[in-house]
Amino acid sequence: MHKLWASTYKEFLLLTRDLGGLAVLFLMPLLLVITITIIQDGTFKTLKETKIPVLWVDQDQGDIAKTIYQGLTESNTLELIEETSETEAASLVNKGDFQLAIVIPENLSKDLAKKVNENVTGMLAKFGLEEDSIAPPKTILSPKEVRLYFDPATQYTFKSSIKNGIDQMIAKVETQSIYKAFQEQVTDDPSEIIFDTESFITFKEIGPEDSEKAVIPNSTQHNIPAWALFAIFFIILPLSINMVKEKNQGTFVRLRTNPISYATVLGGKTLVYLCVSLLQFGLMLLIGVYLFPNIGLPKLDVAGKVPMLFVVAFFAGLAAIGLGLLLGTIAKSQEQSAPFGATFIVILAALGGVWVPVFAMPSFMQTLSKLSPMNWGLEAFYDVFLRNVGLSELLPEISLLFLFFVATAAIAIVYNERKNAV
């Protein structure tokens, strides 16, 4: 016990003597969480507050173009800039000056009105409601396409949301045209409302059912757990570098000849770096609760969850430290440990669902993600933050994190013993 305490104290001194390193250890994760949350929160805000400039080429000059124009303008997401030439608009988008150009084709309104009228008249004739009961012959109309020119660098998600938005708008215009055509055929009084054109089906988002004060997930509730976990795992880097330094300084050689076990040496490192992880996490919670509301970000809601959050952070920290101990034991130089550690964390984070939700991954990657300790940690954090679960529901995830620590630390000890056996 005395040797463990001495090792812990030594690690504490080594860490606190490197003030620059210590600052990086605490400030960088905070900076990471703040930056990512501002960006992700900004994505929602961009759609609400910031307008994306889009070129608008109206070759139709009819009611439908006007309706789409009005709909897009009212959505407050796009700033429509009128352009007369489709070629010029395409060129500007291709050069990256604009993300998108929307081209409404010639005669869209006229042809749609004609098509709808003919369809409605034909249908009423079938029912015998028309005076001559014979459907007029149908005009052959060329299909219309609303052309969208996207900047090649535009992300798929943005493209997809714009396409869906315009598609919905056109569908609504078409439906309203049909209703209007029926109205005109059925009554001569335009003030008489026969059809209710308001949407009958709407959506309602329901939160966790067992909580009356259910938290509506926002960018902070999503980002703090994900990026806090990412930061916790970044402890692998300073820890493995600390161990490689010991080898290079020769102090590890001295320790190998001294009557102290490798497990005790690792124990000292584990205790100190675990405290660092928990402090890092605590700071992240504090900025989420106190700083975020002051810089225009949603406040982090931790009411009644702090002990459970620290339980998860404790086991996630242990898992990260286990990996750091293993990497530090195997690596021979900082050139090995630093790039490998950094890349490996990014891979674990990607697999764990920090960037792309696991459900959106290909099925093979979904299976693989179940092997990432970051996935276990992230699920545990989401359980506490968003699903309001109890300790018993967390047990599978925190047990996996603990077992991961035990396994990696044991491999590190066995590897060291075998490599240095005499």
């Binding site: 005395h2 040797k3 001495a6 090792s7 104290y9 030594k10 001194l13 080594l14 003597r17 490197d18 300084q249 020769g250 102090t251 050689v253 001295r254 320790l255 190998r256 000849t257 001294n258 009557p259 102290i260 240095n420 056996a421 005499v422």
Partner: protein, 247 residues
């Protein structure tokens, strides 16, 4: 005190043996010098005796103990002064020594007093609370020595303990080692300073290509070689004048 039987070491990928079927007995309270050119096998032999590397074949015991059976007791019995400064540069001299002392189960007042006593003896008492990174080479060598003798080892391995230090530091180190030897510590010492070895060692072995070429008391070795005025002449006569650059 130390019995070495047919001890050999061949590193992975190496063409030959670094230490080859070496037999040696070192008595209690001896200061035994291992002398040889670069790559002769001195450090490899000390590394095997101090549990840093595993022998390819052969065996040895120290005070009747082996690492296979008595690892813990043996580690408590020996001290190693490595060739490199095995110290934490960002910690003070006292912090380094406190930590290394605690690995030998030394603690509290006894450890503190022992550290201050040795710092005083080796002329470093004013630097106890200074970081190692600010120390000169000679000061680091002395701290390196103190870190290895805090627990009063019965056997001390010294791998070039005075390399790269000023004359004053060297003198302090050698004088203290002589005192330790007088108090009963057996020492195995390697060095390229042959004059120092001639004066310091009770017995030396000249080792080359992993084998002991000759061994004996320094004076006896000098007198046994015609025209040899000192140990350096003996050394050159045995190992030759060709350069031994070793990568």
């Amino acid at each position: 005190m130390i019995q070495i039987n047919q001890l050999s070491k061949k590193y992975k990928g190496a063409e030959g043996f670094s230490v080859s079927e070496l037999d040696l007995n070192i008595d209690e309270k001896e200061i035994f010098g291992l002398l040889g050119p670069n790559g002769a096998g001195k450090t490899t032999l000390i590394s095997m005796l101090s549990s840093l590397i595993k022998p390819t074949s052969g065996s040895f015991s120290i005070n009747g103990l082996t690492y296979q059976e008595n690892k813990k007791e043996l580690k408590q019995l020996i001290g190693i002064v490595p060739q490199e400064y095995a110290l934490y540069p960002s910690l003070t001299a006292f912090e380094n020594l406190s930590y290394f002392g605690s690995t030998y189960n030394l603690k509290g007042k006894a450890l503190k007093e022992k550290i201050h006593e040795l710092l005083e003896t080796l002329g470093l008492s004013n630097f106890a609370n200074k970081k190692i990174s600010t120390f000169s080479g000679g000061m680091k060598r002395r701290i390196n020595l103190i870190a290895s003798i805090l627990h009063e080892p019965k056997v001390l391995f010294l791998d070039e303990p005075t390399v790269g230090v000023d004359v004053q530091s060297k003198n302090v180190i050698i004088e203290h080692l002589k005192q330790l030897n007088a108090a009963g510590t057996t020492m195995i010492y390697t060095s390229h300073h042959l004059n120092e070895a001639e004066d310091f060692c009770s017995r030396v072995a000249i080792i080359d290509n992993g084998k002991i070429i000759t061994k004996g008391k320094p004076k006896d070795l000098v007198s046994s070689f015609e025209d040899a005025r000192n140990l350096e002449d003996v050394f050159l006569a045995i190992t030759g004048k060709a350069l031994r650059d070793h990568a």
